[in-house]
């Protein structure tokens, strides 16, 4: 027997698609295009080995954060990604770092050209003692761009990209050192963006910033992910959890564990990782 229901049948509610990124699972990750591959990387400072057989894949347009206790080699790895370690005497490197298909440590590689493809943002904001405009234009100038129109456009695009345009557009000719710490750091990001790198390396970019400025930079990282691949070193695990898709945990020069940030922070597979992220490290 069927009972008549006098009420009209409601339309099914169509929910908007969720705003956050879809959850990657292992299978999806395996299919992602890789921006950067590190293979069996060993590094010595003189006789002291600082990195031990690092294997790391960074998929394109994702954020990879590197965490680990002080002195474990995060910065060292980061600096070997754009060959800044070349500047230090006595550094010896073995293994491969592949940017796309190119081995960075191939003797034929043009280091200058390579550093153009790898932007870097440092722990302490380090704008040049020049005007805001000149800071952003620096990268182009050293690569020989003279056309003022191109420079103007790039400066604006980079500053907009770094979320700084509205704050500084009326004072581009002022000294960059007059900006606040957070603004300076975003200026450094803009400076790195100006040369259109493929990968942006950030070494503790927020360690000297207040929560507001940190929040801005984190939002910025989220935006930048659309166009760039980002590797960020941070001591702030909340920050790593907030901004990154993948997280790598370093300990004593070894990459102990690397995986999806969600996984690593809720259920790490390694005991050391667990101890480190829960703060039980002794």
């Amino acid at each position: 027997m069927e009972i008549e229901d006098p009420r009209p049948i409601p339309e099914p509610v169509v929910l908007p698609p969720p705003k956050t990124e879809p959850a990657w699972d292992r299978a999806a990750v395996a299919e992602m295009e890789l921006a950067l591959r590190v293979r069996k990387l060993d590094l010595w400072y003189g006789a002291k080995q600082a990195l031990f057989g690092i294997d790391l894949d960074v998929p394109k347009n994702t954020v990879m954060s590197l965490i680990g206790p002080s002195g474990c080699g995060k910065s060292t790895l980061l600096r070997s990604l754009n060959r800044m370690n070349d500047l230090i005497d006595g550094v010896r490197i073995q293994g491969q770092v592949l940017l796309g298909d190119q081995d960075l440590y191939d003797p034929k590689v043009d280091v200058i050209e390579l550093r153009k493809r790898m932007g870097m943002v440092f722990q302490k904001s380090n704008p040049f003692p020049k005007s805001i405009y000149e800071n952003v234009a620096y990268g182009l100038r050293i690569h020989g761009v003279k056309d003022t129109r191109v420079l103007d456009e790039t400066v604006e695009r980079s500053l907009v990209g770094a979320g700084l345009w509205d704050e500084v557009k009326d004072r581009l000719k002022d000294s960059a050192l007059g900006l606040s710490g957070g603004q300076q750091q975003r200026l450094c990001i803009a400076r790195a963006l100006a040369v259109k790198p493929e990968v942006i390396l950030m070494d503790e970019p927020c360690s000297a910033l207040d929560p507001i400025a940190t929040g801005r930079v984190e939002e910025l990282i989220f935006e930048l992910k659309k166009d760039f691949t980002i590797v960020i070193v941070t001591h702030n695990m909340q920050q790593a959890a907030r901004v990154s898709d993948f997280t790598g945990f370093f300990w004593l020069g070894k990459l102990i564990e690397v995986g999806l940030t969600k996984q690593l922070f809720t259920n790490p597979t390694q005991r050391t990782t667990e101890d480190y992220i829960t703060g039980r490290f002794g």
Binding site: I112, R115, K124, N126, F128, P129, Y138, G139, I142, L177
Partner: protein, 509 residues
């Protein structure tokens, strides 16, 4: 503490020197030998059994043979200010103290007695303008003509080794033309000189000696005792200006010291021009490029030792290396036609500047190294990480960042260089340079010329002058000026540094 020392120094020197230009009262005394008149220039208080003594500047060196006389205080009586006594500053023989009795034109008296002084004052400006015209012609046209004639002489000598008819003829013609022009100019000069001789002044001293002098040789006539403070002040200022802006007279004991100021400034600037690039390049090499090894360490030791070598040794080196070896070779190669007259093979401003540059380069190297080291490492890294080459980083980031420090080095170098005299005496300074190293004659900058220097001027006036008593205030004034020049140069550099720093947004060193 150091500020106190500097202030004391300046005040002391200033007190000794600045008073010199103030018109002093003329006092007349009675003595056993008759009346004397002059400015009281010094007093010695009585001590033991010596009575108090006075020094009187009686002037009139041409008549008395000396400017100053000492009297015992009880020897002189009835001091009296004579209202119409005048102090006459002359081009030669120092000042005259006495009275103006008359003014003559072509031997005829045109003003006498009380009218004589106004008569002189009225004619003085014209005489001055006449004098400066003569001076201008002597310096300008005659100088140019002489230079051209010298050129022809050299061309002749060259022709001797490679005879050429046409050229020889052209030279002859040119020489004739020049000689004719020379003749004209000398005639004009003679005329002007005669003109300036026409008016003469009869001067009389307190003891009744008379002297006739052409008005052209007078600089100022000051009835000191009847002058107001304001007009004294005017005189003071004009004397001060004369001191700073005029050429010296009377073997440097009178007139101005402009050539010495100019020579000092120019020498220091030339030295800076040489020492900054050399020092900066050396420091850049040492700090940025050289691998640490025995060579770099040896260089560092050498640089540090160089700073401790006595400056006269540098003078000897400059003489031996720059003047004789380098200058001699230049003469051999480029100016062989002038030999045996040396061009660069003798002391000159360029060798003096180079010697001083050598003397001061350690200072610049050391402070540049410091400055380079103080450019934050992270800025270099930022630049390199952007893909800049090492050279681009140095040029665009490190050097601008180090500029204030480099300037500090320059300031120290200038302070040292401006004060050195000893090495200059061997390498190009003279007590009286006939012409300045920078003038209107082609090629305007004459690096081969000798020059005058304030420091040497002090030494010369103070110790080598025939009339050292009269020159004493000059010594102090010159010292004050030397100080002022050094301070001014330093201020210029400090100001530049301050502006650089401000442009970099207050980064501190």
């Amino acid at each position: 503490m150091s500020v106190l020392m500097i202030v004391t120094l300046v005040v002391f020197i200033g007190a000794k020197g600045l008073g010199y230009f103030w018109p002093q009262a003329i006092v007349q005394f009675e003595t056993a030998q008759g009346p004397v008149m002059g400015e009281i220039s010094d007093r010695e208080p009585a001590h033991e059994n010596e009575p108090e003594r006075l020094q009187l500047r009686v002037a009139n060196r041409d008549l008395y043979g000396q400017d100053f006389r000492w009297f015992q205080a009880d020897e002189v009586k009835n001091p009296k200010l004579v209202a119409d006594a005048v102090l006459v500053e002359r081009l030669e023989y120092g000042a005259f103290i006495g009275w103006i009795r008359a003014v003559q034109e072509d031997g005829k008296v045109i003003a006498e007695g009380p009218g004589a002084l106004p008569g002189v004052e009225q004619r003085l400006p014209k005489a001055h303008s006449l004098r400066s015209r003569i001076h201008a012609i002597e310096k300008g046209e005659v100088g140019d003509l002489n230079a051209s004639l010298e050129g022809i002489r050299l061309d002749r000598r060259r022709l001797k080794s490679a005879p050429d008819e046409a050229k020889g003829k052209a030279l002859d013609a040119k020489e004739l033309d020049l000689k004719a022009r020379y003749q004209q100019v000398s005639e004009r000069l003679d005329e002007l000189r005669k003109e300036s001789q026409r008016v003469t002044v009869i001067l009389e001293t307190v003891d009744g000696q008379r002297k006739e002098q052409s008005i052209g040789s007078l600089i100022r006539v000051l009835p000191v005792n009847s002058m107001s403070t304001l007009s004294k002040l005017k005189v003071y200022m004009s004397r001060l200006w004369e001191f700073v802006a005029e050429d010296p007279r009377e073997s440097n004991t009178e007139g101005g010291i402009f050539p010495a100021i100019f020579g000092t400034v120019m020498m220091v600037l030339m030295m800076s021009l040489v020492v900054v690039p050399c020092g900066v390049v050396a420091a850049l090499y040492l700090r940025e490029y050289a691998k640490d090894g025995w060579l770099v360490r040896a260089t560092r030791v050498a640089v540090n030792n160089l700073a401790g070598v006595p400056s006269i040794v540098f003078g000897v080196f400059g003489l031996g290396f720059f003047v004789y070896t380098l200058g001699g070779s230049i003469d051999q190669i480029f100016y062989s036609d002038r030999l045996p007259t040396p061009t660069y093979g003798t002391g000159s401003i360029i060798w003096a500047s180079l010697t001083l540059a050598l003397l001061t380069v350690p200072v610049v190297i050391v402070s540049t190294e410091e400055a380079l080291a103080s450019v934050p490492r992270n800025q270099r890294e930022a630049s390199l990480a952007m893909g800049a080459t090492k050279w681009q980083t140095l040029w665009k980031i490190v050097l601008p960042g180090a500029a204030p420090g480099i300037l500090t080095g320059l300031i120290l170098a200038m302070a040292r260089g401006a004060g050195e005299v000893a090495p200059l005496m061997l390498t190009g300074v003279v007590k009286l340079a006939p012409s300045m190293p920078l003038d209107g004659t082609f090629p305007f900058l004459h690096l081969d010329r000798k020059f005058m220097h304030l420091g040497f001027h002090i030494y010369d006036v103070g110790f080598q002058s025939p009339n050292s008593e009269a020159a004493k205030p000059m010594v102090f004034m010159t010292a004050l000026l030397l100080l002022a020049v050094v301070v001014l140069l330093n201020f210029a550099a400090i100001n530049l540094r301050r502006r650089l720093r401000a442009r970099m947004g207050g980064s501190t060193f």
